[in-house]
């Protein structure tokens, strides 16, 4: 099975396995809270942060309403700068375009900066099947490539890997190095990866990067990184291929600045990431470095079908990862349980849009609807509301399990009959409060073992239901 094939329908089993995985839980414990604290501090330090979020939302909405025009303007600028634009409707088309370009460049090895679009297209497996070696150069991506995994987080792809696991992966892969070398500290691990990858930068014929933004005014593609790997990836080989999805367009350089002001702060709490690079076309005459060819692969893969639907707002996403950093479900099970490219709340909304509710319909159920994702989203995407819409569609399409459908059906029947609902609520609350009268808690309850198997159910207060007390208080 290729790595990018979805295991989304197995979300429940994946989540259970994740909760039982001691290494994963240790890694998640180690990172939990870091991102949250840093983002909160960055927000406090910038009084205009929330106003910038509003502006970023408006920019993205404006782009989505005029996407065809901005794509055409962008394309014209890329061509004017000597670059090429390739349009791909599907992941398959994008793969074929990339392979064709790699063959034109005579590539044996292809270096890759971090790109989620290439994950969406399953580029690595496809290139490998066709005799071209893909090399991930982002440190986290490199670690998981050695382990035969996919990213578990969109900006911290190896967040699920513990330090001893990294050491084991390096020892297994870097057999040309002294087997007795000391890798006991983090600096030694980072230095080893730096040394190994430094050589690979000079070997590849093609470098593939993603794009955080595409600028219609100038034809720039923009990457935002901290490591510098994306820049070496695009500057040393003879061909640079940018893989980007349609909605990455922003109109002007000033609009790009607005997005940059919220992107780093939302992602890692940085005012600016270390490297923000605007690339336009191939190397200029006389340039001693930079690629001789510059290609952009524009991927649709279902996005144009999201326009003018309840899920259009999802296309505002700038891939900062704040929603997953703040999500109690993601923080409990990690990213792999979600089973496809995009985890966490943004993945729960985007995945059913891109691969279908039949495949991805379980993910919107992985939410407690606490609302933190929407609260921190830099472009104010109403994630919980959209998850609710997906749940409704899943129910309408009869994809929800039978027991859940019956339960929801029963509840809906009662909820539409207020008198019946109140009688049932009164009976239920009375019974439960008697059951838990001594301790205020119920340790075991038939039909609710999913809850009481792990924890006690709080018994309802005495003194009647909410409606009873409301009426009594008004009297």
């Amino acid at each position: 099975m290729s790595l990018h094939e979805a295991t989304t329908p197995a979300f429940r089993a994946n989540a259970r396995a994740a909760l039982d995985n001691a290494n994963l839980q240790a890694a998640l414990r180690g990172s939990r809270g870091n991102f949250i604290t840093k983002r909160a501090r960055a927000r406090e330090d910038l009084p205009e942060f929330d106003a910038l979020r509003d502006r970023a939302r408006d920019i993205k909405d404006h782009v989505l309403a005029h996407l065809d025009l901005y794509l055409e303007a962008y394309e014209a600028q890329v061509i004017a700068s000597g670059g090429h634009v390739h349009w791909a409707e599907t992941a398959e088309e994008a793969r074929a375009i990339v392979l064709d370009l790699c063959r034109q460049a005579g590539a044996k090895a292809v270096n890759k900066g971090k790109t989620m679009i290439s994950e969406e297209c399953g580029i690595n497996d496809f290139l490998a099947e066709n005799g071209i070696a893909p090399v991930e150069t982002d440190l986290g991506e490199y670690i998981i490539q050695l382990r035969g995994e996919v990213p578990s987080h969109i900006i911290a792809p190896a967040v699920h890997v513990t330090v001893p696991e990294i050491e084991a992966a390096f020892r297994k892969a870097h057999t040309h190095l002294d087997p007795d070398r000391d890798l006991s500290d983090l600096a030694a691990l980072q230095a080893e990866a730096r040394g190994v990858l430094r050589e690979k930068y000079f070997q590849a014929e093609v470098g593939i990067t993603g794009a955080n933004m595409l600028i219609a005014e100038t034809g720039h593609s923009v990457i935002v990184t901290n490591e510098g790997n994306g820049d070496l990836t695009q500057s040393l080989p003879r061909m640079h291929i940018v893989m980007a999805s349609l909605e990455k367009i922003v109109p002007t350089l000033e609009d790009a600045a607005t997005i940059l002001r919220i992107l780093g702060r939302s992602a890692t709490g940085q005012e600016m990431s270390v490297y923000t690079t605007f690339s336009r076309g191939p190397r200029r005459p006389g340039d001693p470095d930079g690629p001789e060819e510059y290609h952009v692969v524009l991927l649709d893969n279902g996005r144009s079908n999201m326009l003018a639907t309840p899920f259009q707002d999802m296309l505002r996403c700038i891939r900062c990862g704040a929603c997953m950093n703040h999500c109690p479900v993601y923080q409990a099970v990690g990213g792999h349980a979600y089973g496809w490219v995009y985890p966490g709340p943004m993945g729960a909304v985007l995945t059913p849009s891109l691969i279908g509710v039949e495949q991805g319909g379980q993910l919107p159920n992985a939410s407690s609807f606490c609302g933190r994702c929407e609260e921190v989203c830099p472009v104010r995407i109403p994630l919980p509301g959209m998850m609710r819409s997906w749940r409704e569609r899943e129910f309408e399409k009869r994809l929800t399990p039978a027991a859940m459908r019956r339960g929801l059906g029963l509840w809906a029947f009662a909820a539409r009959r207020p008198r019946l609902y109140r009688i049932a609520a009164r009976l239920g609350a009375g019974l439960l409060s008697r059951l838990g009268s001594k301790t205020g808690r119920i340790a075991s309850l038939p039909f609710a073992r999913g809850w009481t198997g792990e924890r006690d159910l709080p018994a309802p207060q005495r003194g009647g239901t909410f409606m009873d007390r409301w009426k009594a208080a008004r009297r």
């Binding site: 205009e48 990294i166 230095a191 901290n226 490591e227 500057s235 000033e254 190397r283 340039d287 001693p288």
Partner: protein, 213 residues
């Protein structure tokens, strides 16, 4: 029908009616319009102070140079202090070519696989975030920014901007069209090993700025 035409058709089918061309033209004709953060509006001495503070926060170091002719001496001092060999690599920038480098061995050209120290000239700086803006080309090859263990950058104080707004205006006025415009904020770093931030991921381990008054 091409993939391009099919994609654009789907987008147009979903679009609301109205003069969309005019809306786009108006937006492009008046770039900006977003909230202006206070930290992007510094001036004069305060701008300089803020820039230096932001460089420090980004784990970069900075020193001031009173005249261009003083640069080789300042660089020699930094190389000694960092226990680096007395060697530097830079591009064909005429600003560097005209200087007497004394005891420092110089080489010209793009970055190489192992290079203890490289020198570039930044076009602009942003006090808003302590960011340097470099333009790739024969004068300042882009790989020098990423392949030096320690990267030294010369910036004229006159090229220091408050923030993105005045920077983009100045950038357009200068009329450059490099293959890459590189914004650099501190030395490279990663937290991918054990979620602990470490400097020197793939790019430089250290970044030092010479501010020329």
């Amino acid at each position: 029908m091409s993939a391009r035409a099919r994609i654009l058709d789907r987008i147009r089918a979903a679009a609301a009616p109205g003069d969309r061309q005019a809306t786009v033209a108006a937006w492009m004709a008046a770039p900006g319009g977003g909230p202006l953060p206070h930290q992007a509006t510094s001036h004069g001495a305060q701008r300089l102070t803020q820039f230096m503070q932001k460089l420090d926060a980004a784990a970069a170091t900075v020193g001031r140079v009173s005249a261009l002719a003083e640069l080789p001496k300042a660089l020699a001092h930094e190389l000694r202090k960092r226990k680096l060999p007395a060697r530097i690599r830079f591009g064909d920038d005429p600003v560097f070519a005209g200087l007497d480098w004394g005891t420092i061995g110089t080489s010209r050209g793009p970055g190489r696989i192992e290079e203890p120290a490289t020198l570039s000239r930044a076009e602009f700086g942003l006090a808003e975030t302590g960011t340097l803006v470099l333009a790739s080309g024969p004068d300042n090859p882009v790989t020098l920014t990423f392949l030096g263990e320690t990267h030294f950058v010369l910036l004229r104080e006159a090229d220091l901007c408050g923030g993105f707004e005045d920077f983009w205006t100045a950038w357009r006025e200068r009329g450059l069209d490099p293959r890459t415009l590189n914004m650099v904020t501190g030395p490279s770093r990663s937290a991918d090993v054990g979620q602990v931030l470490q400097l020197g991921a793939h790019g430089p381990v250290a970044l030092h700025v010479f501010l020329l008054s």
